[in-house]
C-alpha cells in the first residue's frame, strides 16, 4: 500500500476512533448525570372495604403513564377479587375495577414505582389533542358542583370583564382571581364548594380548582379538574387538585393553590382528570383508603461511584482540581502545534524554531499578559544588549547563552518587582517559564541576522509573532481547554488533522506569491 493511501486510512482510523471514544464517553457521562438527577418513588394505595353483597364494585384510578411519567412497576395485592383495567376515551384516565364474588371484608394494595426524570418534565403541553364538539360541550357544561349558572359566578364574572382580552389573557385573570383573591380555608367550613368560596372569598385547594373550572366553563372555555399526587414523602398523602384549561390545541395546566401555571413541576403525577375522587365504590360500606408516597434508594452505581475502577484512568477530571488548569493547558498545546504546522505547511510562514511560537504563547498564558510583556521586554533587552556586550568577549556559545539566560532571569524578576512596587493592584507574579527556549530564540535570531540578513531575520520574527499570537488566542480559550479535559479523545481528530497536513503536497500560500513571475 502506498504511503498516501495508508495515511488516509490511518487518519480515517483516528477519526473513527475519536468518534467512538467521544460518543462512548458522552453516553457514560449522560448516564451518570441523569442517574444523579433521577429519583425513584413508590406510591401505594391501601383500600379496605366491606362488600355488602356479591358483585359489588370498587374502582381505582391509577397514575397515568405518558411520555414524561412512566409507571415502571405496578402491582396489586388482593384476595378473591376480580380486576380489570380500562382507559377512558376522552380523559384517558386509567381505571381499575375490582368486583367481589362474595360479600365480606376486602383489602386491595396497589403499588406503583415511578421514576422521576427532571429533564423531560411533565410536559403535556407538547401533546396536541383535538377536542370533538361533543367533548367540548362536555367540558363547558355546568353541573351541580360546578354550577356555572349561579348568580355568584355571574357576579364574579361581571367584575372581571372580558372586553378585548384574548382567551389567554382572560384565563390568566381568572387564574389570578382564584389563586390570589381567595384566601385559604378548610373543608369543614364547607369551602370545597364553589358558591361558598365565592361568598366568603376563602377556599380549600379543591374549592379553588373547582371555582376556576366553573368560571372558565361559564365563559365557554373548556376546563377540567385534575387530581394527582405530588411526589414527596408522606405516610398519608393527600391527593392534590389542579385545573386544565383547553387552549389552542392543548390542555394547559393551572394550579391555583400553588400558583403553577402552564407548566406543572415534574414531581406532580396526574391520576384522574375531570374529577377529584381517586376511589369510587358501589355496594360497599366502611370504605377506607390511604395513600403513601415513599422515596426509594438510588441504584448501586450511584452509591458506589467512588469505588476504584480501572476505567477511571481515562477520566482526567477525577484528578485534583488544582491540576486541572495545567492539564487543560497541556491538552491545548497540540492545538498550538496544529496552528504552527498550519502556518508552516499550508500558509508557508517561517518562524524562529518550530515549536518556539507555541511555547512562547504558553508562557504568556502562564504568566498573564502583564507579566508576559515584562518577560518579552526583558528577553529582548537582555538578548540584544547582552549579545552586543558579550560579542566582544568572544566567549564560547554555551557559557555566552547562559549569561544571557541569567540576565533575562534577573531582568524578569526585577521587572516584576518594579511593576509590583508601582502598581501593586496588578498582582503580577513570577512563574517558571521556558526561559531556555526563549534564550535559544534570541541566539537563533542573531545567527539568522548574520547569515541570511536582517530582512530575512525580521521576516522570521514577524512570522513567529503572528503564529505566537494565534497560539495565544487558542491557548487562552478556557472553554476549549475544559472540553478537552473532559473529552481528551478529541485529540484523535487533531492527530488526523496532523496526518492530513503531513501529507499535504499542494502549494503553500506564500508560494503563490513567490512564483507569481512564473505565470506569464
Amino acid at each position: 500500500m502506498s504511503a498516501r493511501a495508508l495515511s488516509q486510512l490511518v487518519a480515517l482510523g483516528f477519526i473513527l476512533l475519536g468518534i467512538m471514544a467521544f460518543s462512548l464517553r458522552s453516553c457514560t457521562r449522560n448516564e451518570v448525570r441523569e442517574g444523579l438527577q433521577d429519583s425513584l418513588w413508590r406510591l401505594t394505595y391501601d383500600v379496605q372495604f366491606e362488600a355488602e353483597a356479591a358483585e359489588s364494585e370498587v374502582k381505582l384510578w391509577l397514575p397515568s403513564t405518558s411520555s414524561a411519567t412512566e409507571v415502571e412497576i405496578q402491582e396489586f395485592t388482593h384476595l378473591n377479587l376480580q380486576g380489570s383495567e380500562q382507559i377512558t376515551p376522552i380523559n384517558k384516565n386509567r381505571e381499575y375495577v375490582f368486583t367481589s364474588k362474595l360479600g365480606g371484608k376486602y383489602q386491595v394494595m396497589a403499588e406503583f414505582e415511578i421514576p422521576l426524570r427532571p429533564r423531560n418534565t411533565w410536559d403535556e403541553q407538547s401533546q396536541s389533542v383535538s377536542l370533538t364538539s361533543a367533548a367540548r360541550s362536555r367540558f363547558i357544561k355546568g353541573s351541580q358542583i360546578l354550577d356555572t349558572a349561579s348568580s355568584n359566578v355571574r357576579g364574579v364574572l361581571q367584575t372581571l370583564p372580558r372586553g378585548e382580552l384574548t382567551e389567554g389573557e382572560y384565563v390568566q385573570n381568572l387564574f389570578d382571581y382564584c389563586s390570589q383573591e381567595l384566601k385559604s380555608g378548610t373543608a369543614k367550613e364547607g369551602l370545597d364548594g364553589v358558591v361558598d368560596a365565592l361568598v366568603f372569598h376563602r377556599a380549600t385547594p379543591l374549592g379553588r380548582a373547582r371555582t376556576m373550572v366553573t368560571l372558565c366553563r361559564a365563559e365557554q372555555i373548556p376546563a377540567r379538574l385534575v387530581s394527582g399526587f405530588e411526589m414527596r414523602q408522606a405516610d398519608q398523602a393527600i391527593p392534590h387538585v389542579w385545573v386544565e384549561v383547553f387552549h389552542g390545541h392543548q390542555w394547559v395546566p393551572f394550579d391555583p393553590t400553588y400558583g403553577y401555571a402552564r407548566h406543572m413541576p415534574y414531581n406532580f403525577i396526574p391520576v384522574r382528570r375531570d374529577d377529584e375522587k381517586l376511589v369510587r365504590a358501589t355496594g360497599v360500606k366502611n370504605l377506607v383508603h390511604n395513600y403513601t408516597v415513599m422515596r426509594l434508594a438510588p441504584p448501586d452505581s450511584i452509591l458506589q461511584s467512588e469505588v476504584r475502577r480501572p476505567s477511571q484512568i481515562f477520566d482526567l477530571t477525577r484528578l485534583p482540581v488544582d491540576m486541572h488548569e495545567i492539564m487543560s493547558l497541556m491538552l491545548l498545546l497540540p492545538l498550538g502545534a496544529l496552528i504552527t504546522s498550519f502556518f508552516r505547511n499550508i500558509i508557508g510562514l517561517r518562524t524562529l524554531g518550530t515549536f518556539a511560537p507555541a511555547l512562547l504563547a504558553m508562557s504568556f498564558i502562564y504568566s498573564e499578559l502583564a507579566t508576559g510583556l515584562v518577560i518579552l521586554v526583558a528577553v529582548l533587552m537582555a538578548g540584544y544588549f547582552g549579545r552586543i556586550l558579550l560579542d566582544r568577549l568572544h566567549l564560547l556559545m554555551v557559557p555566552r547563552s547562559s549569561i544571557v539566560l541569567t540576565m533575562i532571569i534577573l531582568l524578569i524578576l526585577f521587572g516584576i518587582s518594579l511593576i509590583d512596587y508601582a502598581y501593586p493592584e496588578l498582582g503580577v507574579r513570577a512563574v517558571l517559564l521556558p526561559l531556555v527556549i526563549l534564550t535559544t530564540l534570541i541566539e537563533r535570531f542573531f545567527v539568522t541576522t548574520e547569515e541570511d540578513g536582517t530582512g530575512f531575520a525580521m521576516q522570521l520574527v514577524i512570522g513567529t509573532a503572528v503564529v505566537s499570537a494565534c497560539c495565544y488566542f487558542m491557548l487562552s480559550w478556557h472553554d476549549i481547554g475544559e472540553i478537552l479535559l473532559i473529552y481528551p479523545e478529541l485529540h484523535f481528530f487533531t492527530i488526523a488533522a496532523f496526518i492530513w497536513i503531513g501529507r499535504y503536497s499542494g502549494y503553500r500560500l506564500v508560494e503563490l506569491w513567490r512564483f507569481r513571475d512564473m505565470v506569464k
Binding site: H394, D452, F456, E511, D517, V519
Partner: protein, 326 residues
C-alpha cells in the same frame, strides 16, 4: 498578464506549469527518493569529501580539520604562511558559518570583500562552529580548513566580491536542472539567494546561462555591473556534469543538489551536496522542474543510467517549452 500587476498566481496556473512546491518536494520527492540513513553523506561535509575523493571527484584540498576546542590556539601554527583559505563547519547547511579568507597581513585576515577579520575574531568563530551553532541539529561540529577556490576568470564580469557557485539538481542520477548563483554587493559577496545573490539558469547540454532571478524577481542584468547575465557559456561543463552524476551515484540519493565551483586551473570542484535543494532554481528558469522529473521517471532504467544519461541531458535541454507544458 503583465507580471507587475500580478501579486499571486493561482495554484492551478502553477500546477499547469509544473512548478514544484516545498510540500510536494518534501512529501512526494525527498521522502520517496532519499533514504534517511544516507543523509549523513550530504549533511557531513567531511563524509561528502571522502566519498568524492574515493570516486575521483575534485574537492577543495583539505589543509586540516579541527575537532576540539584545544586545537583552536594551534590554528595559526597549522595554517602556516597561507594567505588564502576557507573555514567551514562540517555540518553546516546553506553556506552557514563559512568564512573565506582572501588576504592576510600578519595575524589579520581579510575576507573576499576586503573586510578585516582579526585573529581573535577568527578564533572566536572557530569555537562557535565547534559549539554547533551552525550545524543542522545544533550538535557539536568540526571545522574544515581548506583551499580557497579561485573562480574561473570568465565569470569575473558577473560575480561581484565573491565566488559564483553552480548548483546541479539530479533526479535518479540524471541532471534535471542547473543554475549558477552570482554574488552581489547586496549579498555581501556570498552566493546566498536570501541575501540578494542572483541566480541564472543553465542550459543543461551547453552550460550556457539564460534567465535570471534576484530575490524571487526575474532580472536580466547583474544588479552591480549591469552586465547581461544570459549567454555566458561555462567552461568545463561536460566535466562538471560527469562529476555530478558520479557523485550522485555514489551518494545513492534520488534527489540531490550538488554545488560546484569552477577553479581557474583544475575545473569543477565539489563544494557540497544537499539533500533538500531549494526551489529558486525554477524561478531562475522561469519553468517548473516537475515535468523534467516526470520525464526522467518515464524513461526505462537502462536509458537513464551510465553513459546513456548524456542522451537524456541532450533531450531535456532541447525539448521545447511547449513539450514541458503539455
Amino acid at each position: 498578464m503583465n507580471n507587475s500587476s500580478r501579486f499571486w498566481a493561482w495554484p492551478d496556473e502553477l500546477r499547469r506549469r509544473g512548478i514544484l512546491g516545498i510540500n510536494q518536494r518534501n512529501v512526494d520527492i525527498i521522502l520517496e527518493s532519499n533514504p534517511r540513513e544516507f543523509y549523513p553523506r550530504v549533511d557531513n561535509k567531511l563524509m561528502t569529501k571522502e566519498i568524492c575523493q574515493a570516486h575521483g571527484i575534485q574537492v577543495p584540498e583539505t589543509y586540516f580539520v579541527i575537532t576540539e576546542h584545544s586545537q583552536c590556539p594551534k590554528f595559526l601554527e597549522l595554517i602556516g604562511t597561507r594567505t588564502e583559505f576557507v573555514v567551514k563547519p562540517a555540518g553546516g547547511a546553506a553556506g552557514r558559518g563559512i568564512v573565506v579568507v582572501a588576504g592576510r597581513l600578519g595575524n589579520n585576515f581579510f575576507s573576499t570583500s576586503g573586510r578585516l577579520i582579526e585573529w581573535t575574531d577568527l578564533r572566536h568563530h572557530l569555537s562557535t562552529i565547534l559549539s554547533g551553532l551552525y550545524s543542522l541539529g545544533g550538535q557539536l561540529d568540526k571545522i574544515i580548513v581548506e583551499r580557497r577556490i579561485v573562480s574561473h576568470p570568465m565569470l569575473k564580469s558577473i560575480a561581484v566580491e565573491g565566488t559564483p557557485d553552480i548548483r546541479v539538481i539530479l533526479y535518479k542520477g540524471v541532471p534535471a536542472m542547473a543554475m549558477i548563483r552570482l554574488p552581489t554587493r547586496m549579498s555581501g559577496g556570498r552566493a546566498n539567494l536570501h541575501q540578494g545573490a542572483v541566480a541564472a539558469a543553465l542550459e543543461l547540454d551547453k552550460g550556457r546561462t539564460f534567465g535570471g532571478v534576484c530575490r524571487d524577481r526575474a532580472i536580466s542584468e547583474h544588479p552591480d555591473t549591469n552586465h547581461p547575465i544570459a549567454g555566458i557559456e561555462l567552461p568545463f561543463w561536460k566535466e562538471l556534469l560527469t562529476a555530478a552524476m558520479k557523485l550522485s551515484d555514489a551518494l545513492e540519493m534520488g534527489y540531490v543538489g550538488i554545488d560546484f565551483v569552477i577553479d581557474a586551473d583544475t575545473g569543477p570542484v565539489v563544494l557540497e551536496a544537499n539533500a533538500r535543494p531549494g526551489l529558486a532554481i525554477q524561478v531562475a528558469h522561469g519553468q517548473g522542474i516537475l515535468p523534467r522529473l516526470k520525464y526522467i521517471d518515464s524513461l526505462p532504467e537502462a536509458d537513464r543510467t551510465g553513459e546513456n544519461r548524456w542522451n537524456v541531458i541532450d533531450s531535456i535541454a532541447t525539448k521545447s517549452l511547449e513539450f514541458w507544458r503539455s
